[in-house]
Amino acid sequence: MAAPKKGRRSPGSQGRPGRALAVILIAIVALTGGMFISGHTTPRLGIDLAGGTSFTLEAKNQPGKPNAINTDNMNTAVSIIERRVNGLGVTESEVQTQGDKHIIVNIPKGMNAKQARQQVGTTAQLYFRPVTTTTASGGKTPEPTPTPTPTASGKGDKGKQGEKSGQPSGSPSASASTQGRAVPGALKADKTPTPGSSETPKGGQTKKPSAPDNQNDLAKDFAALDCTTKKGRAAAAEKAANAKPSDSIIACGQKGDAKYVLGPSKVEGTDVDDASSVFESQNASGWIVQLDFNNKGAKKFADVTGELAAKQDPQNRFAITLDGEVVSAPSVDTAITGGRATISGGFTQQSSEDLANVLSYGALPLSFDIADETTVSAALGGEQLQAGLIAGAIGMALVVLYLVIYYRGLALVAMASLGVSAILTYTIMVLLGPGIGFALNLPAVCGAIVAIGITADSFIVYFERIRDEIREGRSLRPAVERGWPRARRTILVSDFVSFLAAAVLYIVTVGKVQGFAFTLGLTTLLDVAVVFLFTKPLMSILARRPFFGNGHRWSGLDPERLGAKPPLRRRRSAAPADTKEA
């Protein structure tokens, strides 16, 4: 690294320190000017300093789709998530891929984290599947149950027992009774709606058992399925979501109040043209989501509803599954034509709007886990920023103090250089905000503070070199010039190693580590620039001043104090100067 520059610089450097200083001055003026012109005078702050929510989504491997995680799908997912989040009225959110299978979503403060999580994490894979079997609240009814599925138990009755009741699978007997009671009411509720479109208030879901038709596995799984706990539901949803649309699946109702065996998907979410949230006052179903199908979807939907209408309950129902959970499972009386369907099921205004929003922008091509979610209130963010700044100030002050004690007058040079370094770092960070979307986060602040040490070290290397030269009996001006090539090489070599570390970190790592690596790399580069263009020329100029040149004892370069053993002549010339000024 050092080698190429060596020849060019060392001979002339003594003669043109002014030019180098001018270069750096122009750079500072240009950067500062650019900063004001761009209208940003503070760096863009990351979520952890400004407040907000940050999600890291990790694409999940899906069985049967080995190559699903690819750049195309990731980019599609990013744009869909972006639209969804912005659909909530957030404008400054930022969604970007990170590495091969992560997506980072940053949402500034002021947005409801819960809502954001829903929007971001929902795959929104929507399927309409015919219901084969279902148990409502209790477990099985005694009567029909021709087929095994003995245990199916299930869930507590929605209204009555809620989650507490129905212990998982098992206990058929207990559940039987519950169910008997629940069914009639439930059926009624079901049927009432559904003239044109079908809808079931969630409550109405309580379906009747009847469970013929079981492929053994499915039946066994179904029996074991426990929808009463969140964990059980989550597991079931995940499994169902990963199943192929053409497979039969078992699924839970969203509230855990029913479970289903569902046939292959007949209509998919991709057939949905548009979705909107509507308040339905007519039959008291409250907020519903209205779906408009495209032509293909409308036809398929008409076909399937026609087919289902001819069947008996529960097989005349279709389940609307979203990400593996049954949102509602209305029954069908007649074929529904016209390409419109509604989903009902105990929505609130917000949840219906959210679902409509998600459905309008389509399903994500991949399903994602939330790998990391961080919510930082503006208060904490401010506190962390403040703490970082205080730490930086204290660190800087300690370094300066140490330098003053040890290097005395030379510390002025070090301080000025640190100052220049700080100004450059700050302005570049500010400009990189709008430029490449750089956001200053806590690790980046950390990196900048750590960099104080690296920057200051370059001065130490150089100063020690100069002192060594003085110890060998040189006067300051030649010492400054002779010490430089050797110091320069050391600085370049060590900064290169430091930069290498930062670059590898930046390229290889994910998340917050990158912010840190970026700052570290940036400051290392600036360190080289500052030492070459500022510190060295400044030393050359100062060496001509009597204060330093004659080795005043506060200059930090007093040959006597440094223990120089110069030829006698030189020593004599230094001594008088010393006494004079002292």
């Binding site: 205080i390 660190g395 602040v445 950390c446 040490g453 570390a501 790592t509 917050k512 223990g563």
Partner: protein, 375 residues
């Protein structure tokens, strides 16, 4: 300054010095001992992995009057089986950490906490981490570590020579082992912040080592053209002459990190700042130690195996034997400061050092050389 500055000068000239290379066995032993302790600690106690690696949730509440035990109770209830750790922060808030909890399960806990504290759930800072994320960070970190080491070894082998690259690598591994061992023994929590700190040590520890090596490379230039000092002696002298710089570098690096640690630990209680600076602090200290006590002696060891250096050492020994003999016969060489060779210690031979540095103090050199030639 004056005292340190004078010490610096004496170190530089070799008036005083510590025989790092000569006593290297002691320091190797110390390092091996520390390393073994670290490995045993790691094996026995393991690392206390933060929730970022095991998965879980951290909630940070605003300033509150609710007591820790009450909060713990609330959180335990909401989080059924999970372990809840509640910590008071310096600024009056609480930090509630629940390990091994899925991101979905964490929501009811957040709501329960918000209710208990009577604040909106937006006011509670949360961090939910799925277990795979931590693995991801860790595996990326290992990958980065491996790539970095390979690159650095290549770079150092080109910029210096392979022996220095090997020594630097060993010193680096040594630093990381010590840092990790301290984490295991003390039980500090390992978080992504720790990993960041650890990775930064890579750069920093090497930075220090590289500066020392740079001096060494320069001092050992043209070494084979003389026969007054062995490589080890030159290495030791160069180490001593850059000692002040090494100390300054370390102090200057530790000061801001110390400030971070102080502020991060004292003001914020816990979090990223604290984690990064803690591992940096430990690693930097280990790095300073290893670049002085381990890296350079290792280079010297490796170098002494080089046939040319062996030959040089032989010549030096022969010459010294001759000088000693001459001295024994009552020659006046003692007064010439040529008693150094007997001590096998470069520090006792200031004149030689000066000569090595191409110092123009020709009178010293003149004095030194005749004694050498007078064999």
């Amino acid at each position: 300054m004056s005292r340190l500055g004078t010490l610096g000068a004496r170190l530089y000239r070799g008036d005083v010095g510590y025989d790092f290379v000569g006593k290297r066995k002691i320091w190797y032993a110390v390092s091996i001992l520390i390393t073994i302790t670290a490995i045993v600690g790691l094996a026995v106690r393991g690392l206390n992995m933060g929730i970022e690696f095991s998965g879980g949730a951290v909630f940070t509440t605003p300033n509150t009057s609710v007591s820790t035990s009450e909060i713990r109770h609330t959180a335990e209830q909401a989080a059924d089986d999970h372990t809840v750790v509640v910590q008071e922060l310096g600024r009056g808030g609480l930090r509630i950490q629940i390990s091994e909890m899925g991101t979905k399960e964490a929501l009811p806990v957040q709501e329960a906490l918000a209710k208990k504290l009577d604040v909106s759930s937006n006011k509670i800072d949360t961090q939910l981490v799925g277990p795979s994320w931590g693995e991801q960070i860790a595996s990326k970190a290992w990958q980065g570590l491996a790539i970095f080491m390979v690159l650095v070894v290549i770079y150092l082998a080109i910029a210096f020579e392979w022996r220095m690259a090997v020594a630097a690598l060993i010193a680096l591994i040594h630093d990381i082992t010590i840092t990790v061992g301290i984490y295991a023994l003390v039980g500090f929590e390992v978080t992504p912040g720790t990993v960041i700190g650890l990775l930064t040590i890579l750069g920093y520890s090497l930075y220090d080592t590289v500066v020392v090596f740079d001096g060494l490379k320069e001092a050992s230039k043209d070494l084979t053209k003389q026969n007054r000092f062995t490589y080890s002696e030159v290495a030791n002298r160069s180490l001593n002459s850059t000692l002040v710089r090494s100390i300054n570098t370390t102090v200057v690096a530790l000061l801001p990190v110390g400030a971070l640690l102080f502020i991060g630990g004292g003001l914020l209680g816990a979090g990223m700042l604290n984690d990064i600076s803690l591992s940096l602090f430990v690693g930097l200290a280990a790095g300073a130690y290893s670049s002085i006590f381990i890296a350079t002696p290792l280079v010297a060891d490796l170098k002494e195996r080089d046939p040319r250096m062996k030959a040089l050492a032989k010549r030096v020994r022969a010459k010294r034997a001759a000088a000693a003999k001459a001295e024994a016969t009552g020659d006046r060489s003692a007064e010439e400061g040529d008693d150094g060779p007997d001590l096998e210690d470069a520090a006792a031979a200031p004149a030689g050092l000066v000569g090595q540095r191409r110092q123009p103090a020709s009178r010293n050199r003149g004095r030194g050389r005749p004694s050498g030639k007078r064999r």
